[in-house]
Symmetry: C2
Subunit: 137 residues, 2 copies
């Protein structure tokens, strides 16, 4: 998922392309890992001086709903990153910097076989720790 893809999705679905929406996409493009609302607010306040919570959360939800952002919960706070839509995979997530590394292992195929009669909607496989860079810092 890149900036252009995301903008196309917005247009296709009939959402308006506003300056703030572009800024939010640019923020997540420039960041490489999971970021929370607070991080985004800091980025936008740097440019605009003040920003409404409504704008922040409405757009985070919209982007998540459109599949543009992935969401996860890190110690009680929602975090987002640009979707990597090319293929299904999971992530190692650094607890210090939020950066991620793709893990191409997905245990769902074998797991689903053991869940006959269960309706499966979603799953999560995440590994938490510290990336090489943060271990040295």
């Amino acid at each position: 998922m890149n900036l252009q893809d995301a903008t196309n999705i917005l247009k296709e679905k009939g959402y308006k392309t506003t300056g703030k929406r572009k800024d939010i996409l640019e923020f997540f493009s420039s960041e490489d890992g999971y970021r929370c609302a607070k991080d985004l607010i800091a980025y936008l306040e740097n440019k605009y001086g003040a920003i409404s919570f409504d704008t922040i959360y409405r757009n985070l939800h919209l982007y998540h709903q459109l599949g543009i952002l992935e969401k996860t919960n890190l110690n009680g706070e929602k975090h987002f990153r640009l979707s990597c839509s090319h293929h299904h995979h999971h992530h190692f997530i650094c607890k210090d910097c939020g950066k991620t590394k793709e893990i191409d292992i997905c245990p769902m195929d074998t797991a689903a076989a053991k869940l006959t009669n269960y309706e499966i909607d979603d799953h999560k496989f995440e590994i938490y720790g510290r990336c090489p860079a943060c271990q040295h810092a």
Copy 2:
């Protein structure tokens, strides 16, 4: 993990066995799945009329820290269940009733091999959906 195991752990570590602590353990013993602070409060208020948040959260944390309760985050709310300490496994979690089913698959071994130089502290593998009972309700 059963009620007796949990009580023993408390004693061993020098924590006092109070009436409320026993009630909390009984609540989680009687429930079969992930429950949140709100559920616990409802249960205890039924018995005591009122209960301090402090008591609820302090004890939830204590039990989690002692390995008596497992914790997970379900739509921004912390949920707990009695630890199943006999062996390492993961869970299917019903979105409707919170009940769980053990999954004996853990992808960590193969995943860790792909993360040399990464410090791995923790991992989560959860499957979400609806259990057979809730599909019929």
